[in-house]
Symmetry: C2
Subunit: 342 residues, 2 copies
């Protein structure tokens, strides 16, 4: 990889620096050409950097601030009153060309609002979308967007999400001509609400997206398509429902297999087999949602991410930066816009 | 139980009479005061009734027809052109007072349209909703509505669903003052789209519903509330996603535990434990969605229901008929409407 700098809001998330700093140190050991800017409270960061070799410390610079965005802050409030927050400083580092990508586990609404104002959307993009991989049972990543950045979407918005999701799949996973579907209540042509119907018509007409039609909730995990598009209200609830049910099943299964001595003993022997199945469904293995449609890379980590999950989102930021995702999306959108005009 | 008659569209579903007739015979053995009207092709029904004791046959009457509603029929088309269909004959039996409830595993849209025209909605109900239990990990039933009867809902519609869901939970499960929540992208007051926001305001004001606020997708299975309300687009996708992920996990787990002799051997010993957990999540255990808000009881069974699952939906119809669900909802709605006017 070529040299690369990430700006990290290390104060966000349920545990703040205690999780984000050790994960960052792991990433620095993993990627030898990675540099990081840590935005946050130096007094909390310094003890966590103790005993690190100079070769690692040389690649870290700290942007000190004690201000943070609260999880309860409204986006507009955060924009106006959190000008010295760790989130904002990290985004400003990207805006000022000091870093290629920004990562935060903080308040999603505030991150979205600040990103739009500081980094701007790509030409022609109405609204950025939040996108992430679905927990999957095979190794094919399936992207779902929007995950909640836009609770109301018109057909044009859904169409743009389809284009951006397609480029993401192509760029990050090298999927040739990714299959794109619209999430709907049925696969028949006449099913769904007005927006979904109109978006389907737009997608059928464009040669730039490999649109394959509607997909229903029960086929979300079939691995038949690469990108699934819906509005943020539906996407947020769908992803969270999936996470909820997967977590619950893991929990129940653990409970069921730890009651009774004999069962416990037997369960130990087959635990690796069960664990490998459940791990595939574990949402933590897919940590890191991308704010798609901005001029630079912004990744949102789960607030509850542990060290391993946070590291995954750093790795995602590295991959997207290396593949120059925003530039790839910009190119594609440009040709579509030209097509539409001609 | 007091004597009760169900009208069954025995032609619906993926397998038709081969599933529905044997399940009905089971129900007749189970409920000694149950009578049934079977709407469908006599030539297909007769062989399945062979060797039945006269005491069972006496409680069966057949309404012969060879016409059926196709799964691909549009609701309006079915209404106009399927006047001799098994679905319509079953609904007419309810309309004409010959049966207390109707059950079909056929085309949902057609069933909804025919039910509205033939049976009418309760006074004050704008649109009926489709409601079903979520797969749950404890034994508390949690109802989700609407499941797809209304892909677009305004605040008033969501409010009515909340009232009807609350009465359902109270009447069928004897839950005192059921907790009702609105499905949303966050639990904070300002989250969500316009309809959800406005519905929350209506629900906060009424003394007739124990409204507890918003609920997110990941808490759908926490068992914290009794009724969860959303529009049919979101509800359909949420339920199908849940079913999809639960089925997939069961499948994967089975696969993981049947590879390798030693693992297979061990898995056999703890299989009952795993099975009991997975059964709780199995959507077939919750078969039967109710069309809520009609003047009579109409139950929709999964098209893919097997005999046991179809029997469950018959049992649901029996319970709702015994508890006089439509009358209970009517009473509650009346007092709310009076309240609103005063």
């Amino acid at each position: 990889m070529t040299s690369l700098t990430l700006a990290l809001d290390i104060m966000g998330g349920d545990c703040g620096p205690r999780i984000t700093v050790p994960a960052t140190l792991q990433a620095l050991r993993l990627h030898s050409l990675l540099n990081v800017i840590l935005a946050g409270d130096e007094a909390l960061i310094a003890p966590l950097l103790k005993n690190q070799p100079q070769s690692i410390l040389n690649r870290i610079s700290v942007r000190h601030t004690t201000e943070t965005v609260a999880m309860s802050d409204q986006p507009v409030f955060a924009l106006r009153h959190r000008k010295q927050s760790s989130m904002r400083l990290a985004l400003e580092a990207v805006r000022d060309g000091e870093a290629e990508a920004c990562l935060s586990a903080g308040n999603t609404g505030a991150l979205m609002a600040m990103s739009k104002v500081l980094l701007k959307t790509l030409p022609g993009v109405h609204r950025p979308a939040l996108v992430s991989c679905l927990p999957a049972v095979n190794n094919t990543p399936v992207y779902l967007l929007d995950l909640g950045a836009n609770v109301v979407c018109d057909a044009q918005g859904l169409f743009q999400f389809a284009v951006m999701g397609s480029v993401l799949s192509e760029t990050v996973d090298h999927t040739p001509s990714p299959k794109v579907a619209l999430l709907n209540v049925g696969i028949e042509e006449l099913k769904g609400n007005e927006q979904v119907q109109a978006a389907a018509q737009l997608l059928q007409k464009t040669p730039h997206v490999n649109y394959v039609g509607f997909i229903e909730g029960n086929d979300l995990y079939s691995g038949e398509v690469d990108v699934i598009v819906c509005d943020g209200f539906v996407g947020n609830i769908t992803l969270k429902t999936s996470e909820g049910i997967a977590r619950l099943l893991v929990q129940q299964l653990k409970k069921g297999l730890t009651q009774g001595f004999f069962v416990r003993l037997l369960a130990k022997f087959i635990a690796p087999r069960i664990r490998s199945v459940l791990n595939q469904m574990n949402p933590d293995h897919y940590n890191g949602a991308t704010l798609l449609g901005l001029r630079a890379i912004v990744i949102k980590s789960h607030g509850s991410a542990d060290e391993a999950a946070y590291l995954r989102s750093i790795n995602l930021a590295v991959t997207e930066a290396q593949r120059r995702l925003p530039q790839m999306i910009e190119q594609r959108l440009e040709s579509i816009l030209l097509d539409t005009k001609s």
